[in-house]
């Protein structure tokens, strides 16, 4: 109960809970539609989903400022790739929130002539750019950690019993022309080694794993809504629900949040 009270006191946590409920409603609506349930029940579920979406928009009214502040902090990072990705990511988020606020104003009737579709597409585009930058950051961190892991593995076992590593063979200029029957197994071995590295790095860095999973789930939503890669309401609902749950987990356990 104590942890619920602390959790509940955070505004972002509530927004994530409502997001999880919203995507659960989307998923439920899809399964009811597939299962041929009564129109009244489907109408209730879709009305509930719309109500949650509007409330989340209301709750997000001040978030542009937060995103701009986060961008201001990210400019001072030492690593140039991280600095670029995070600053531009936060700026895109700020633009997404601004478009979202305009959509809210249109839906509540404050601004009468708001082209809902146009502004919705705009907001999803900014959201997509922000997610792409987040994923770029994740891949960059993964690459750095993989290099680190590879170096530590090489330093731990300098005389490998399995023969010289594939990179030596490929980089050696005086090696004879390798026939195709040798290249494929070599590539296979290299790929397996890379996958092993990825698995080891992600296993040892749960914050990175969670962030990667979250962003991968999140990117499905704008790809579907913008019509770039339509996947259907059911799959979008599952991905939205999964990313909300992962986000809630990182809030309950702050050590699981990827920093910076």
């Amino acid at each position: 109960m104590d942890s619920w009270v602390r959790f509940n006191a955070q505004s972002q946590a509530k927004e994530r809970l409502i997001r999880a409920a919203q995507y659960a409603c989307m998923l439920l609506g899809y399964s009811l539609h597939r299962g041929g349930a009564a129109a009244e029940l489907r109408a209730t579920v879709s009305q509930l989903e719309a109500h949650m979406s509007l409330t989340r928009k209301l709750l997000r009214l001040g978030n542009s400022v937060e995103a701009l502040e986060a961008a201001k902090r990210a400019i001072h990072l030492s690593d140039s790739v991280l600095r670029l990705c995070l600053t531009i990511g936060h700026l895109n988020r700020a633009m997404y929130f601004a478009c979202d606020n305009i959509l809210w104003a249109g839906k509540t009737g404050l601004i009468s002539k708001v082209d809902q579709l146009k502004w919705s597409q705009r907001s999803f585009r900014y959201y997509l750019f922000a997610l792409i930058l987040n994923l770029t950051r994740d891949v960059y961190e993964l690459h750095l950690l993989m290099e680190q892991e590879a170096r530590s593995r090489n330093s731990k076992s300098p005389a490998s019993p399995c023969g010289p590593p594939a990179s030596d063979q490929l980089s050696c200029p005086s090696s004879p022309a390798t026939p195709p029957t040798v290249v494929l197994p070599l590539m296979g071995a290299w790929l397996r080694r890379q996958l092993q590295l990825v698995r080891a790095v992600l296993y040892n860095n749960p914050p990175l794993l969670l962030d990667l999973l979250k962003n991968s789930c999140d990117i499905v939503i704008p790809l579907d809504r913008l019509g770039i890669y339509p996947l259907g309401a059911g799959f979008v609902g599952v991905c939205g629900l999964a990313s909300s749950v992962l986000s809630i987990v990182t809030m309950i356990h702050p050590w699981l949040k990827l920093k910076p």
Binding site: M1, T44, L48, H51, G62
Partner: protein, 246 residues
């Protein structure tokens, strides 16, 4: 900017901002009600108020647990009067929130057969009890502080100075009442947290009193008092020293 971010990152802060907006809409609508050329604006304000109200109901969904936890904490207070007032206030607030959640479920369509009028009246009743109990606690705290202050030598000197300042006024007004009011004023000046909490609870009274038809005021007064109460709430979130303890 920093203060704004700090405020909005807390759930309570955001809820109070939304409440302030809701009451500002109600007040504006009341002030513009007779202006026919502003009918469109009034309609927009009504729509905004409804949207904020339904959003806040959804946001209050888990808060009954918070109040029950607060009641569990206040049951352990040393002072008997504080223990009684605050625990009862927290329980009443939890009951008000449960009624509010039931109203949300009915509004959204999750529960079909709900007597909205009855649940709304019950919610207002519990809210009124909670505010009255908070106000009782404020009066008790003020009396305690006044008793403490009246024993302070430095204050006694200032009191004598004040009473002898304008002898004509002191003769015209009952000196004891004058002394009491001076003591009250000085106490509240030195303890702004108590003063703000008292003012906030007084403002919070008007809403449920109007809804329960105990004291009919108008929508404008309810909106204005609600706005003042929300602004005080925002100030106490920004400056935790101004929040009354416990």
């Amino acid at each position: 900017m920093d203060a704004f971010v700090k405020l909005t990152s807390q759930s309570q802060g955001k809820d109070r901002i939304l409440r302030a907006m809701q009451n500002a809409c109600a007040l504006s609508m009341y002030l513009l009600r007779n202006r026919s050329e502003r009918k469109e604006l009034v309609a927009k304000l009504q729509s905004l108020q409804n949207s904020i109200s339904s959003g806040r109901k959804l946001l209050r969904l888990g808060n009954a647990a918070n109040s029950i936890e607060a009641a569990k904490r206040t049951v352990q207070l040393a002072d008997k009067v504080l223990r009684l007032c605050l625990t009862a206030a927290n329980i009443n607030r939890a009951l008000y929130l449960i009624c509010d959640n039931a109203l949300w479920a009915g509004k959204v369509g999750l529960v079909r057969s709900i007597d909205k009028e009855r649940w709304s009246l019950n919610a207002s009743r519990f809210y009124l009890f909670s505010v009255v109990l908070h106000l009782t606690r404020d009066v008790y705290a003020t009396l305690q502080l006044m008793t403490l202050k009246s024993k302070d030598k430095c204050f006694k000197r200032r009191m004598d100075q004040h009473l002898s300042q304008d002898p004509e006024v002191a003769q015209a007004v009952i000196p004891q009442l004058d002394a009491l009011l001076f003591l009250l004023w000085e106490t509240l000046k030195c303890h702004p947290a108590v003063a703000l909490d008292t003012l906030r609870n007084i403002c919070d009274l008007f809403g449920p009193l109007d809804k329960l038809s105990i004291y009919h005021s108008n929508a404008g007064l309810v909106g204005f008092c609600g706005l003042i109460s929300s602004l005080i709430g925002i100030v106490t979130v920004l400056q935790p020293t101004l929040r009354i303890a416990p």
